[in-house]
């Protein structure tokens, strides 16, 4: 049995009651309140609603009507469907406005105006076929639905239908049906518009966005091309004729770069990568690459830019890594600093200085800031309860404790932060803490420490933040994360630690301690600059002349927006504080979890082994830069973007333009006589250039890249339409036309080379080499609002043109994907999901139970994930035992467990298990 729920005075219920009467379908009818909730999953009340025998709900009137008609009759025709869709999408919005006016605002006279256009459509259609009903000779569901919709406004004689005689005849015909009359009586109770008042009052006010009259004749239309005005074209042609700026020759940097009076002095930092690991793609795009693009761009804009970065080297993680590798912390730092440097060199990261935090200068500056904070009364002493592992004989750094999150009960929360809920944690608050190394339960010991008194600095901080965030370009996530920190209230933060590998605390009472890395590391920006130039204070204590940009991933925001500024504000030495905080979101890797222990994912040192050029890596990472939202790295997508955007779009355009000059004009740029069409192109290209500059100025690096690609798309289209390769074989005027098109195109290539420079420096230079373009063009086009000038004049001789990009073949990409462990989302895992879920009627995603390990056939990503974790944990355990010089046979037993786990992991990953033991020393 079906149940229909309706309410009095609800115009949508008219249709369904009429349909019920007309079809004679058996169904229970319940009159309820407008606000009563019938459909369990909708948050707003929705009536009418039909409860099907299968207990599913249908909650819109047209679908209900249609269902009622189809129960006893044929499926509704295309014509019928079209009317129902028109009613729901065109007529209803107009009716809602009309009823709103008539019922609530007493403006009944306006109704005919609002309904004019849909009524015209209806009238024309009814008149055309001279039909009794909408779809022919017989009543269909379309007639009932449209009648029901129009009844509240048409039954009332105040709305004259004199202009719509076909509508009037049709309406009267349908209204005369007894089913319709009885439905109208039930819903409106003979009270007319007044009956709908309480219903209408509960409806949201209609939006006025569909006031445009509905066009009844289909019009061909193209997807949005920007309209270019006459003035824009003339202005573009004027710019085109401007001279290139011959005077600015200062492309060579002169070290040390110092702030200069009268220039925009821009200091750029990239978050300091931690030294104990090889950086991966996420680190690279999140900090150094983004900062590099922006600093290269800044130089093109004529700013005085200094870009510094370096490795962050102190802390427990380094100590531990050293223990693992049997080296001293210093040796570890030397080793990995070199690794980082060489990776960034390969990625062409153009640091002005790439330093490190373990230097004399670091000690000097950190201790100076410390004493100033002490002197100004921003440091407080307190006893701290700390976790100590008696088994390992040391205090446990936060990241070496794991336990249950006190906030969200996530079982694998780290000692400093919970990865699940993101909240910061005090290690002693963890429930059931475990030493990560040996899995023993640590004990709580107390020890005296120094704290930075953040609450005392809060007012100052807020005043500064207010100014900085409103005048600078902070990314939305940076502002939001900062706000949420302040909202939760600041607490004193401990700045000392019981460790050896760190900057020593100079205070005599804290001799055995070092600075906590969060306090120490950002000071690295200053000390690294100090290692670059002894005049470092001209950058770092000069807020009036210097603008500071910090680049980072979003997890680093609070340390740059709250904590470090508090250190500097409290030190009261006129420090340069951040003006623009640029934070990226996360970059994901395919559909598989990124894992160092399984070797899944791409690390900086592996990128060059792929044989894909550094510029192409840069391009793709910037193309998917997690700007404003998370994004994903995918091999297939990388190949696609390389082949479609670089090869077929950008590379193809630049190569064609150059080849035409070489083949048709003997390598010399031909004379150009601009016609309307060419000027229009100049205007369009000029507009894209301006967009690029506006976006780049706001550090929207990914968005700006799209405009470069738009330009070459316009260029390709221009060549395609004008066919210079045909015209060159034609008469004199056609040949001249071919010359103009070729000349304009090759100049667009020149502009593209400049715009590309921050993204793909090597390709950019290659293009200019091929075009033999003057270096001075670089400095001209991106100044001010941007100007597309004719840099390669008629008669200019270009160099040798050759293709810029290579195709990435499917098998090549397939091999790389396998090698780096990523999985193709289109492949088996998803299919498997589909079949698995269609077998069960209800799918509630549940975490897979940690089942006993069985040697399965074929790959099983879920199992692999669990096993990888088990392998990592077992590995940690073995290493810990070894470092503690445990009994030989105890170690041997654990090692054999580890090997077994590795074998199972290989099986679960679909690889053939191989003996992983005798591979020499592996990190």
């Amino acid at each position: 049995m079906m149940e229909l729920f309706v309410s009095e005075g609800n115009p949508h219920c008219l249709k369904v009651l009429a349909a019920l009467e007309v079809t004679g379908v058996q169904c229970g009818v319940h009159f309820i309140n407008h606000e009563e909730k019938v459909v369990p999953f909708l948050s707003r009340p929705a009536l009418p609603a039909l409860l099907l025998p299968s207990k599913q709900h249908i909650f819109s009137s047209n679908t209900i009507c249609r269902y009622l008609f189809e129960l006893n009759g044929p499926e509704s025709s295309d014509q019928c469907n079209q009317w129902l869709e028109w009613e729901a999408t065109v007529l209803q919005p107009a009716l809602l406005r009309a009823l709103h006016m008539a019922v609530l605002q007493g403006k009944g006279s306006e109704v005919s105006k609002v309904l004019q256009s849909p009524l015209n459509v209806l009238d024309q259609s009814l008149g055309k076929g001279n039909m009794s009903y909408l779809t022919g000779k017989d009543v269909s569901v379309a007639d009932i639905v449209l009648w029901g919709a129009l009844h509240p406004v048409l039954f009332n004689s105040s709305l004259a239908l004199s202009d719509h005689k076909f509508v009037k005849a049709w309406f009267d015909r349908v209204a005369a049906m007894s089913g319709c009359q009885s439905a109208a009586q039930k819903v409106l109770q003979g009270k007319g518009l007044e009956a709908m008042k309480s219903y209408m009052q509960r409806q949201p006010a209609p939006q006025s966005r569909d006031t445009q009259p509905c066009n009844s004749s289909p019009v061909e239309s193209e997807e949005g091309e920007r309209v270019v005005s006459e003035e824009e074209m003339e202005a573009a042609a004027l710019t085109w004729r401007k001279d290139i700026n011959a005077c600015s020759q200062t492309t060579e940097k002169q070290h040390p770069i110092m702030p200069k009076e009268g220039m925009r002095n821009v200091l750029i930092t990239s978050a300091l990568p931690y030294v104990n690991n090889v950086p991966h793609l996420g680190n690279i795009i999140g900090c150094v690459l983004s900062a590099d693009v922006f600093s290269r761009y800044g130089r093109l804009r004529g700013w005085n830019v200094l870009f510094v970065c370096g490795t962050d080297e102190y802390g427990t993680a380094t100590e531990n890594k050293a223990r693992e590798e049997g080296l001293t912390p210093k040796q570890i730092c030397d080793k990995y600093h070199a690794v980082h440097s060489s990776i960034y060199r390969w990625f062409q990261i153009d640091f002005d200085f790439f330093g490190r935090t373990t230097t004399e200068k670091q000690t000097e500056i950190a201790q100076d800031i410390f004493w100033r904070l002490q002197k100004n009364g921003f440091l407080v002493e307190d006893t701290v309860e700390q976790l100590r592992c008696e088994n390992c004989q040391r205090f446990l750094a936060d990241r070496f404790v794991e336990g249950i999150c006190p906030h969200c009960s996530y079982p694998e929360a780290r000692g400093d932060q919970c990865d699940k809920c993101g909240r910061l944690i005090n290690a002693v608050e963890l429930r059931e803490p475990q030493c990560k190394v040996c899995k023993q339960t640590p004990v709580i010991r107390s020890s005296k420490h120094l704290f930075l008194d953040l609450p005392k600095l809060e007012t100052q901080l807020e005043q500064w933040l207010e100014k900085s965030t409103s005048s600078g370009d902070w990314t939305a996530n940076a502002k939001q994360i900062t706000r949420s920190w302040l909202r939760d209230g600041l607490k004193p933060r401990c700045i000392t630690r019981d460790l050896q590998w760190g900057t020593p605390v100079p205070h005599p009472d804290f001799k055995e301690k070092v600075f906590y890395v969060w306090f120490d590391a950002p000071i690295g920006y200053l000390s690294i600059t100090a290692n670059y130039t002894s005049d470092w204070e001209k950058w770092w204590k000069n807020p009036h002349q210097v603008e500071l940009y910090n680049f980072m991933a979003k997890d680093n925001v609070p340390f740059h927006s709250v904590v470090f500024p508090c250190s500097l504000l409290g030190a009261q030495d006129n420090y340069t504080l951040v003006n623009h905080l640029v934070a990226t979101e996360y970059l994901n890797y395919e559909d598989t979890k990124f894992s160092k222990s399984r070797g899944v994912g791409v690390f900086g040192d592996m990128a060059k082994d792929t044989g894909i050029p550094s510029d192409v890596w840069r391009f793709y990472l910037l193309y998917v830069r997690p700007e404003g939202q998370d994004s994903a790295f995918s091999w297939a997508d990388m190949a696609l973007k390389n082949n479609s955007e670089l090869l077929n779009n950008l590379g193809n355009f630049i190569n064609r333009a150059g080849m035409f000059v070489t083949k048709f004009f003997g390598g010399c740029v031909p004379e150009m006589e601009l016609q309307q069409e060419d000027k229009k192109l100049l205007a369009v290209v000029g507009w894209e250039l301006q967009q690029y500059i506006q976006l780049m100025d706001k550090v929207k690096i990914r968005d700006a890249l799209k405009h470069i690609l738009n330009i070459s798309r316009h260029g390709n289209q221009y060549i395609q339409v004008n066919e210079p390769w045909k015209k060159i074989k034609g008469g004199e005027s056609e040949r001249r036309r071919a010359g103009t098109v070729t000349g304009v195109s090759v100049n667009i290539s020149c502009l593209l080379s400049v715009m590309l420079l921050p993204y793909m420096p090597a390709v950019s230079q290659t293009i200019r080499d091929q075009l033999n373009a003057p270096q001075s063009c670089i400095n001209t086009m991106l100044l001010g609002p941007g100007s597309f000038v004719c840099a390669l004049r008629a008669g200019h001789r270009i160099g040798t043109v050759s293709p810029l990009f290579q195709k990435l073949e499917a098998d090549q990409i397939e091999a790389l994907k396998k090698r780096f462990g990523g999985q193709q989302p289109e492949d088996e895992p998803s299919n498997k999901k589909i079949t698995a879920s269609s077998q069960q009627p209800a799918v509630v995603p549940a975490p897979p139970a940690v089942a006993e390990v069985k040697t399965g056939v074929g790959a099983d990503p879920e199992k692999a994930k669990q096993l990888a974790k088990a392998v990592a944990e077992q590995g940690d355990k073995v290493r810990a035992l070894k470092s503690q010089k445990a009994e030989k046979d105890v170690i041997a037993a654990e090692v054999s467990k580890l090997l077994d786990l590795k074998k199972q992991l290989a099986l679960a990953e679909g690889k053939s298990p191989e003996p992983a033991a005798q591979k020499g020393k592996k990190k």
Partner: protein, 173 residues
């Protein structure tokens, strides 16, 4: 936009000869030009027509009740999802999330046209979601991921990563 959806749908359905389309009015309502019949107007109308042309009427639901459910969501797509106001997004996601809690597809266990058109329509919303929101609307996300990986459906739209697999390890603090 609607035209691209229809082109993708044609590919999914394996229709050999592409149809001719134009658009109508401000909102660019798609129009299917028919040689020997009057043109058809409206995304849902045309989509249903294409499904029947491809003889894949199971995509419209098997049986009257299932057909009603499919129609329900197609109507939802063009009335609630299209042209939604920004403040409606949360309600839409919340409702869908609750609805999909115990369902694989919009019509229960059967993949239908409703999934295809809802997927096309909701793509821009999902694309804009933060990771946390994707987690909050877990059932929608699961359904969405499912449909975007359904063979042959995605075509004109970029894939949206729904899993939270960080490339970043959190730095020490």
């Amino acid at each position: 936009m609607a035209l691209r959806e229809l082109a993708s749908l044609e590919k999914y359905l394996g229709l050999k000869k592409p149809n001719k389309y134009s658009t109508q009015g401000d909102k660019k309502v798609p129009v299917l030009q028919n040689n020997n019949a009057p043109p058809l107007v409206g995304l849902v109308t045309i989509a249903c027509h294409l499904v029947k042309e491809a003889k894949r009427s199971e995509l419209l639901g098997c049986g009257a009740e299932a057909r009603a459910v499919v129609q329900q969501w197609l109507e939802y797509r063009v009335t609630k999802l299209d042209g939604h106001a920004k403040e409606d997004i949360k309600t839409i996601l919340k409702d869908l999330n609750l609805y999909l809690q115990d369902k694989v597809y919009l019509a229960g266990n059967q993949f239908t046209l409703a999934d295809v058109l809802m997927y096309y329509g909701i793509h821009s919303i999902i694309l804009d979601l933060a990771v946390q929101e994707k987690e909050q609307y877990m059932n929608v996300t699961r359904w969405f991921d499912h449909i975007q990986h359904h063979p042959g459906v995605r075509h004109h739209l970029p894939p949206v990563a729904v899993l939270r697999n960080r490339l970043y390890t959190s730095r020490h603090h």
